[in-house]
C-alpha cells in the first residue's frame, strides 16, 4: 500500500477521521452545534472527494473504482441529509446529542465499505460496522419505550442474519478456498456443468438470506415495520436509504463479478423473493394507518422491484437498478424529511391523523410529501416513474414477463395506500373552530433541502440523461 492507495481511500478516511474528531470534540467541549458542524463538514468533504479520485484496488479487500465512488457519493449525500434532519430533531429532545453524530458517521463508514468490497472479509467487516452503529442509533432516545424495543429487535435479527452470513461465507471458503469474489467467479467459470457446485450454491443462498434480512426482503421482512416505527424519524430515513443502499451496491457487484446469475436455481430463489417482497410489501401496507409503517412496507415492495433489476443482470438491468436506487433515495429521504419536520418533541408524526388537511396549513410541505408519495407510486414527472419504467424495460428486455406482471399489479395495489395518504393531506379541515393552529415553522434548513430534493425528483423525472450518463460511466468497469 502506498500513497496513491491512501488517496483513493480518502472518502473512507475522511468519514472515519471525522468520527474520531467528533469524539475528541465531545471530550473537550460538549456542544451540539460543534458536533453537527464537524459531521457536516466531514461528510461534505467525503462527498466532494468522490468526484475526482483515481480508481485503485487497495489491498485485496477494497476496489475503489468509479462504481464505488458513485455509490459512496450517494451514501454520503444521504447522510448529509440525515444529519441535517437530526440536528433540529435532536435539539427538540432530551439527553446527550453529540454521540449521535459519531454513530451516524460510523454507520455511514460501514455502508461505504460495502460499496467497495470485493472480498468476503470486507463484506463482513462493512456489515458489522454498519449494524453495530445502527443498534445505537435506533435506540438512541433510550428513555422512550418504542426506540428501545426497536433497537433490541434490530439487534437480535441483525445478529442472527450475521450468523447466516458467516456460515455462508464459511461454506464458500470450504469449497473455493479463497474469499475474494473473483476466486468464486473463477471457480464457477471453471466448472461448466455446475454439478459440483452444491456447496457453493448453499453458501450463496445463506449469504442471500443474510443480505435479505438487511434489505428487508419478503420472508425476512418482519422486523421492518417495528423498527421503522420505533426508530427516531431521521434514523429511519438512514436505515431505509444508507444501510440498504450499501447492501444493494454490494449485491449488484457480487452478482455481476461472481457470475452467480448462471445458476437457474438461484435465479428461481431470487424470483420468489422478489415476487414475495412486491406482494407482501404492498398488501401489508394496505392495512396500516401509521405513516412510518406504511413507508416501511412500501420500502419492502421497492426492494422487491429493485431485485427484479438485479436478477436481470444485464447492463440495462444494472443501470436501471442504480437509477432506481437514486430515485428511491430521493423519495424516501424526502418523505422522512417531511415526517421529521412535522414531529413534535413528544412523539414522531406517524399517525395518519397528523397529516389530515396538511395542504391547508402548510401547503409547501404537503406538496413535497405529495410529490414524494406520487414518485414512490411511479407517476410521471417524477424520478420514480422513469425508475419504474427502466426496471420494466430491463425485465421486458430479458423477457421476465411474470416478474414485470407482478410488478405492475402490485404497484397498482400500492397506489391505493399512497393515494390514501395523499387524500388525507388534501382533506378539508372538518370545521372552522376545529381547524388546528398553523404549525410552527421549525427547521427552515430542512425545508430548503426538501425543496431541493423535490427539484431533483422532478429533474431526474424529466431530464434523466445526465444522471444516466453518470451511472453508465460508473458501472462501465464492472461490465
Amino acid at each position: 500500500m502506498n500513497c496513491i492507495h491512501l488517496i483513493s481511500l480518502l472518502p473512507l478516511l475522511l468519514v472515519a477521521g471525522t468520527s474520531v474528531l467528533v469524539l475528541l470534540a465531545i471530550a473537550v467541549c460538549r456542544n451540539h452545534a460543534v458536533a453537527f458542524a464537524l459531521t457536516l463538514a466531514g461528510l461534505t468533504a467525503a462527498l466532494c472527494s468522490t468526484f475526482f479520485l483515481p480508481s485503485n484496488q487497495v489491498t485485496q479487500l477494497l476496489l475503489m473504482d468509479r462504481y464505488a465512488f458513485f455509490f459512496m457519493g450517494l451514501l454520503t449525500a444521504a447522510s448529509v441529509f440525515v444529519a441535517l434532519c437530526s440536528y433540529s430533531y435532536l435539539a427538540a429532545r432530551e439527553g446527550n446529542k453529540e454521540e449521535f453524530y459519531v454513530l451516524l458517521l460510523v454507520a455511514t463508514l460501514g455502508a461505504m465499505v460495502l460499496t467497495a468490497s470485493i472480498h468476503f472479509a470486507s463484506l463482513f467487516l462493512g456489515i458489522e460496522i454498519l449494524s453495530v452503529a445502527l443498534y445505537g442509533l435506533i435506540a438512541y432516545l433510550r428513555d422512550r419505550p418504542l426506540p428501545l424495543e426497536a433497537g433490541i429487535k434490530y439487534l437480535i435479527l441483525a445478529g442472527s442474519s450475521s450468523a447466516f452470513l458467516a456460515f455462508g461465507i464459511a461454506l464458500i471458503y470450504a469449497d473455493v478456498g479463497a474469499l475474494d469474489f473473483l476466486a468464486v467467479a473463477q471457480r464457477i467459470a471453471a466448472d461448466q456443468s455446475g454439478v459440483s457446485l452444491e456447496l457453493l450454491l448453499a453458501g450463496t443462498v445463506l449469504i442471500l438470506t443474510g443480505i435479505g434480512f438487511k434489505l428487508a426482503l419478503a420472508p425476512f421482512h418482519m422486523w421492518t415495520p417495528d423498527v421503522y416505527e420505533g426508530a427516531p424519524a431521521p434514523v429511519t430515513a438512514f436505515v431505509a436509504t444508507v444501510s440498504k443502499g450499501g447492501m444493494y451496491a454490494l449485491l449488484l457487484r457480487f452478482f455481476s463479478l461472481s457470475g452467480a446469475d448462471r445458476f437457474p436455481r438461484l435465479l428461481l430463489v431470487l424470483s420468489i423473493i422478489a415476487i414475495a417482497s412486491m406482494l407482501a410489501g404492498n398488501l401489508l401496507a394496505l392495512f396500516s394507518t401509521n405513516v412510518k409503517r406504511i413507508l416501511a412496507y412500501s420500502s419492502i415492495a421497492h426492494m422487491g422491484y429493485l431485485l427484479v433489476a438485479v436478477e436481470v443482470s444485464s447492463r440495462l438491468g444494472i443501470t436501471a437498478a442504480a437509477f432506481y436506487l437514486v430515485a428511491y433515495f430521493i423519495m424516501i429521504l424526502g418523505a422522512f424529511g417531511v415526517v421529521t419536520v412535522l414531529s413534535s418533541g413528544e412523539r414522531d408524526a406517524d399517525r395518519l391523523e397528523d397529516y389530515r388537511g396538511l395542504f391547508w396549513r402548510r401547503s409547501g410541505l404537503a406538496l413535497v410529501f405529495t410529490a414524494m408519495l406520487l414518485s414512490l407510486a411511479g407517476i410521471p414527472l417524477t424520478a420514480g416513474f422513469l425508475a419504474k419504467f427502466y426496471i420494466v424495460a430491463a425485465g421486458a428486455d430479458s423477457q421476465a414477463w411474470l416478474l414485470i406482471l407482478v410488478l405492475v399489479v402490485s404497484s397498482t395495489i400500492g397506489l391505493f395506500y399512497y393515494l390514501r395518504v395523499v387524500t388525507t393531506l388534501f382533506q378539508q379541515p372538518i370545521s372552522e373552530d376545529q381547524s388546528p393552529e398553523p404549525l410552527p415553522r421549525r427547521a427552515p434548513a430542512i425545508s430548503l433541502v426538501l425543496a431541493v430534493l423535490t427539484v431533483f425528483l422532478v429533474w431526474f423525472g424529466v431530464f434523466p440523461s445526465p444522471l444516466l450518463r453518470l451511472i453508465q460511466s460508473a458501472i462501465g468497469n464492472i461490465f
Partner: protein, 490 residues
Amino acid sequence: MILVWLLAILIAGGIVAWPLARLHPLLSRSIALLAVALDLVLVLFLAARDFGDGNAGTGWHEELDWNWIPQFGIHFHLGLDGLSLLLVLLTLFLAVVAVVASWNDIATAVGFYHFNLLLIVAGILGVLLSLDLFLFYFSWELMLVPMYFLISIWGRERRVYAAIKFFLFTQLSGLLMLIALLALYFAHHQTTGIYTFEYQDLLGTQLGPQAEMWIMLGFLAAFAVKLPIFPFHSWLLDACSEASAATNLILASLMAATAAYAMIRFLLPLFPDAVHAISPIMIVLAVIGILYSAILAFSQTNLMRLIAYASIGHLGFVMLGIFAGNSLALRGAVMTIIAHAISIGALFLVAGSIEKRVHSREIESIGGLWDTVPRLSGVALFFALAALGLPGLGDFIGEFLILIGTYQAHIAVAAVAACGVLAATFYALRFVQCAFQGPNHGSWQLPDLAPREALILGVLMVVLLWLGLYPQPVFETLGQAANHAPALWR
C-alpha cells in the same frame, strides 16, 4: 416550434396561476383563461395557415423532433396532421369552456384548481401531438394525477371513493400498456437492431401473430378503460356522479376523445392484423354498450349518471365506427367524437347549472322547471335532442356515417345499433319530461341563465349546429390525414 409553445404556455400558465390565487382568485382565473385562449388562437392560426386552402402538402404539417433521453432512443417528437388538429381544436375549445364554466363555482384553492386543469389540458395535447410512443405514454399518465385532484378535492360527498376508483382503473390499464409498449420496443430491436420509440419506425415492426395479439391487447386495455367501453365503464359513472360539471366535461368528453384518438392513431396502424382478428368481439361489445347504456340511462335518477350513460352509448358508436373496418365508419367515428364531446359536455354543464339552482342531482326532485327557467330549459332540450341524434345537429352526421359504414360490413349489427339510436330517444325525452315538464313539486322560483352561462351554452349550440349543417370542413381537414395512414382511410 409552435407545438412546443402550445404545451409550454399551458404549463407555464398553470404554474403562474397557482400562486396568484393568493393575491386574488380573479387573477388566477384570468391567467388560466388567457393561457387556454392563447393556445386556441395559436391553433386556429395554424389551421388557417396549413389547412385553409384545402390542398396542403403531404407529411406532418407541424413537426418537431428533439433528443430527449438518447440512452433509450427516446425523442421529444411532436407532429400535427388533420386528425390531431381537429382534436386539438376541440380540446382547447372545450378547455376555454371549462374555465369559463367553473368561473364562479370553485371557491376553495382556486389556484391549485387551475393548475390541475391546465396540466390536464397539457397532458391531453401531449397525447394528441406525440409521435414518440414514450412521450405518448408519458402524457397519457400525466393526466391522471391532476384529474384525481379535480375529483377528490372539488367533488361531492363520495368524491374520494370515486377518485381512487378512477385512478386505479386508469393506472392499472396504463401499466399494461407500458408492458405492451416495451414489448414492442424490444421486438423492434430484435428485428432491426435499433432501439426506438418513434411512431414511424415502429409502424413497420415485424411481429409474429401471437406476439402482435398480446401487444395489441395491452394497448387496447388502456384505451378501452379510458374510453370507456362496456365492461370497463363503472369508474366513469362513479366519477361523473361525484365530480363537478366542468370536471365531467373534461373527463367524459376530452379524455374519451384522447382514447378514441389513440385507437385510430396507434392501435389500427400498428397492429392491423390483430385488430382485424379481434374486431368482431369489439363490435359486439360496442353494440352491447350502446343498448345497455340506453336501457340503464332510462332508469337513472341521478342527472349526472344519466348523462354519463348517454356518453357511454355514444362512445359505443365511436367504437363501432373504429372497428367496422371501413373509412366511412371511421370518418363517422371522428365526427361522433367531436359532436359527442360538445353535446355531452354541454349536457353536463346544463346539469351543473340545474344543480346550482336546486341543489340536487336527482331528477325526481326537480320537475317543472320550464315555467321558472325557460331559457335554461330550452337549451337543455336542444342538447338532449342533439344527444338523441336529431338530424341537423352534429351527432346525427357521425352516427349516420357509422351506421352506413357498418351496414356495408355487417348488416345485422347495423340494424341492432340503429335500435340503440331509438332507445336514446327514450332517455333523452324522459330527461326533458321529468326535469322541465311535469308538475312543479318544489315550487321552484329560480334565476334563469346568467349571461356567462348563456354565452358558453350559446356558443356550444352554434358549433353543434354548424357541425350538423355543414360538416364538410371537418372531413376535408380529416381527409389530409389520409396521407399518413393510407390503408385506413381508403
